[in-house]
């Protein structure tokens, strides 16, 4: 028994270490096609985005439609740090710090949505998030320091497969811990019945702040990875179309499920690349696939279930979260 327990304790760092080593050797050797590697990195970034939005839209049952705004804040903050604040030679070492700072800046911005959410709910909160997305995009367009609509340039290519793996894994692990803690139960209780939750002692304001901040933190992390992968960001990269793309990945995969986010992000990203030979018809077929998937699997691919590895061992026996609506 003891051996099993200590093995379990080591599982998380072990997976992290092996994964990092593996992704490091893959990107340094020529084993994997650069294109495949790039697509895998897109999948990772999209997974972080999807999972972080899932926290708000799936677990908490709100409808945030402006998730790209947090990505933008993380991307711009981290880019400024690696370009303006620290010299180029320090870049690679400062990178994880820049990513985390980007995430924190974005988490602070998450407060701006969390506080209205105390009073505003449902479709009205959706409009608040939409408005926030438009406001920030418009501000970036008007600030010359950020390059305006021309975009922010001179970003070094610091995102590698290793970092994408590392941050995807951290997002998965941290959000899993959150979801299966009492904060996470509080989040679901807000979705199920906010009035009852607050009467039963759930500090709903605190839970909402935590959820929005955690969600926007990881969106910011994804934004930072995105910026240092493409080496170019502009307000257009974070417009309402990007937000709807993330939204589609969340509902395609399945709400309130970490496995759903893994599947939603991978299926969407890979399909978009696989359909390339269709040329202009790719973007006609893609939404059709989505509509058919929704009709035949209205609850997303995972349909509210969870992959058992993602559930902490103490919680395994519990039947899974099911959705009211």
């Amino acid at each position: 028994m003891k051996v099993v327990a200590s093995a379990k304790k080591l599982a998380v760092p072990a997976i992290l270490l092996v994964g990092c080593a593996l992704s490091c050797s893959v990107s340094n050797s020529n084993l994997v096609d650069r294109y495949v590697e790039l697509v895998v990195m897109y999948v990772g970034i999209n997974f972080i985005l999807t999972l972080s939005l899932n926290l708000v839209n799936g677990y908490m049952g709100e409808f945030s439609v402006g998730h790209a705004v947090f990505m933008a804040i993380g991307a711009y903050t981290s880019a400024i740090i690696t370009v303006k604040v620290f010299s180029l030679s320090l870049g690679p070492w400062i990178f994880p710090l820049a990513v985390l700072t980007g995430g924190m800046a974005s988490a602070l911005a998450g407060l701006l949505v969390a506080i209205p959410s105390f009073k505003i709910r449902g479709d009205y909160l959706a409009i608040v998030t939409l408005a926030f997305n438009m406001i920030v995009k418009s501000i970036i367009e008007n600030v010359d320091f950020l390059g305006g609509p021309r975009g922010y340039l001179g970003i070094a290519k610091l995102t590698s497969l290793v970092w994408v793996f590392f941050f995807s894994f951290m997002a998965l692990w941290v959000i899993r811990n959150f979801v299966y803690s009492n904060y996470g139960r509080g989040v679901v209780s807000i979705r199920e019945d906010e009035t009852a939750a607050i009467i039963m002692g759930v500090d709903t304001k605190k839970v909402k702040i935590m959820t929005f901040m955690l969600s926007s933190f990881f969106a910011g992390v994804a934004g930072a990875l995105y910026a240092h992968l493409l080496q170019f960001i502009s307000p257009k990269s974070f417009d309402i179309l990007k937000s709807t793309e993330i939204l589609i990945m969340v509902y395609l995969g399945g709400i309130g499920s970490i496995a759903g986010s893994v599947l939603g992000a991978s299926v969407y990203t890979v399909l978009l690349e696989l359909l390339r030979p269709l040329g202009i018809w790719r973007m006609v077929i893609m939404p059709l696939v989505l509509v058919f998937l929704m009709i035949f699997r209205p609850k997303g691919i995972t349909g509210l279930r969870e992959f058992k590895w993602f559930i902490p061992s103490a919680e395994k026996k519990i039947k899974l979260f099911k959705h009211k609506v």
Binding site: N182, G186, E192, I199, G201, K324
Partner: protein
Amino acid sequence: MDLLKITGLTHYFGGLRAISDFELTVNSGEIYGIIGPNGSGKTTLFNLITAVYRATSGSILFKGTEITTMSSDRINALGIARTFQNIRVFNGLSVLDNVRVAQFNKFQYNILEALFNLKSFKKDEALVTERAWELLKSFNLDHRAYDLAGTLPYGLRRYLEIVRALATEPSLVLLDEPAAGMNQVEISKMIETVKDIRNKYGVAVLVIEHQMSLIMGICEKLKVLDFGVTIAGGLPKDVRKDAKVLEAYLGSEVMD
């Protein structure tokens, strides 16, 4: 000391007076009943105590603290828990999680400890889970602990609500029609449960009920409301004989 002391409580819905000049004192460990015809303002009273509504005037003191302007979760942290007339368990959470989430105020760990799965987090989680199991066992709900609350039958959901309320470690529980829709056998089981709440957990109970058998079986004191006005109060045997009460109930329900 008085546990709950309500003085001059008045509440308006628009122009309609739902509760007027209400007075109530509940002592520790007491079982107090509130009866009255439909629409007499009983549930409104509970909603005022738990801050779902804000009182137009008057004061509510709990353990000597003014709670009239407090938020619902703070009031709960002070020691008031309740159940609802139309059951409101968290259908999408498991039975166990329903009981665990109600211990929100009991958690010592902070957000970072939770996010990084640290020792203090695991210790607290284990403690809270154990307490949840104990409660579930003593109310015979443990065999359904892993099921979603939404899949429980009506009667069990009523008990789950009571367990959830007790999980917040209250000193006063407000029960809103706990025996609604129950038959005589089930009612007598509920009577035992309510007595248990007081005797085993030392919690005072304020109960609203239409089922006179339950009220008369357990309440030490009674208050009768009609159209928001207190028309009688005192010991159950005195209230039963009160002329005004008989008049208010005439035709609507036969007492006992």
